[in-house]
Symmetry: C2
Subunit: 190 residues, 2 copies
């Protein structure tokens, strides 16, 4: 299995990957790796890449009153970037941090532009894959509005079963918008 196979598979869920597209992609992706704690992206810079996670775990976070607030977690088979910064080429508030040793395949701005310009199906892929993230964001909003801390945690366990045991409790609490203490008490009472 080529290292890029997972990536092609992901794209293949949304569009047919023609031979020329496949070639163009493979020519342009670049492998990179990060240690635990290293930043894939720093809020003080403009985001110039999108990284596809081959192996590892990443969180998107931002600073709020000196606290690091986790916005979401991404693992194998997902793209990470700072969405607004990437599209508008201006800085934004988000950091990307490797929570484990992480390997990525990345596409630079310029190459993304090339692919979008020359392969209209890549535009479609981007549109459709964004669509699924959309649904998650809307569910998340519902969850923040109407569910108790316990329900939030139980929902998280269901939806993030695979990565739950890889995450420190404090980050999960901040993702859920509750305090670490509350989450600890919830877990105790079971």
């Amino acid at each position: 299995m080529l290292p890029a196979d997972a990536l092609l598979l992901h794209i293949g869920q949304y569009i047919r990957v023609s031979e020329p597209l496949r070639t163009a992609l493979l020519e342009r992706v670049q492998a990179a790796s990060y240690n635990k704690g290293e930043l894939l992206h720093d809020a003080r810079r403009v985001c110039t890449r999108s990284d596809f996670i081959q192996r590892g775990l990443v969180r998107l976070y931002y600073q709020h009153d000196g606290e690091k607030i986790t916005e979401y977690f991404s693992a194998e088979g997902e793209w990470v970037n700072s969405p607004n910064s990437l599209v508008k080429q201006t800085p934004d508030i988000y950091y990307l941090e490797a929570l484990e040793p992480t390997q990525t395949l990345s596409l630079h701005m310029r190459d993304l532009g090339y692919l979008f310009d020359n392969f209209p199906e890549m535009e479609r892929y981007a549109r459709l894959s964004m669509g699924s993230v959309f649904g998650h964001l809307m569910d998340r909003i519902t969850s923040l509005r109407f569910t108790s801390a316990r329900e939030k945690y139980e929902h998280f366990c269901r939806t993030h079963h695979d990565i739950l045991h890889r995450l420190p409790l404090g980050m999960v609490a901040s993702y859920l918008g509750i305090t670490q203490e509350t989450l600890s008490r919830i877990r105790a009472a079971r």
Copy 2:
């Protein structure tokens, strides 16, 4: 000013609208109008159109424990649809309701498909315009997590200044994820 001018303007913010695209669009959009209280879309059906609001005000809501929960408001110059239902062609939980007499230009599924297939720049338009909604959703999540009821309301006043006076209080409260009573008390103390 042609009725469709606002629509072309909106698209023109993201891509250049070529003459053939302009023609294709104008041939396919359909005008419709709705009375106050009428549904533009019903959750019991599959969403088959995207509606661009020419005049009026629409809310997206869903049922939760017998309550109608407002997910967002859209006014002149915005697209409304049930995103997931439209893309996946399966039912979803969202209703679209006209809060005022509303005129729309709508594009049917099939025509959207035609435009996406024949005008790659329409894919780009969809991708980029979705991107800006993205940012709003992320801000919304932050607001739900960290701000008091009063701050939520003040933020809403700032960001929805133009439509604030057109909205019943109960819907605003449900949008903000607080109770009507709390919102009423907040407004009293000023």
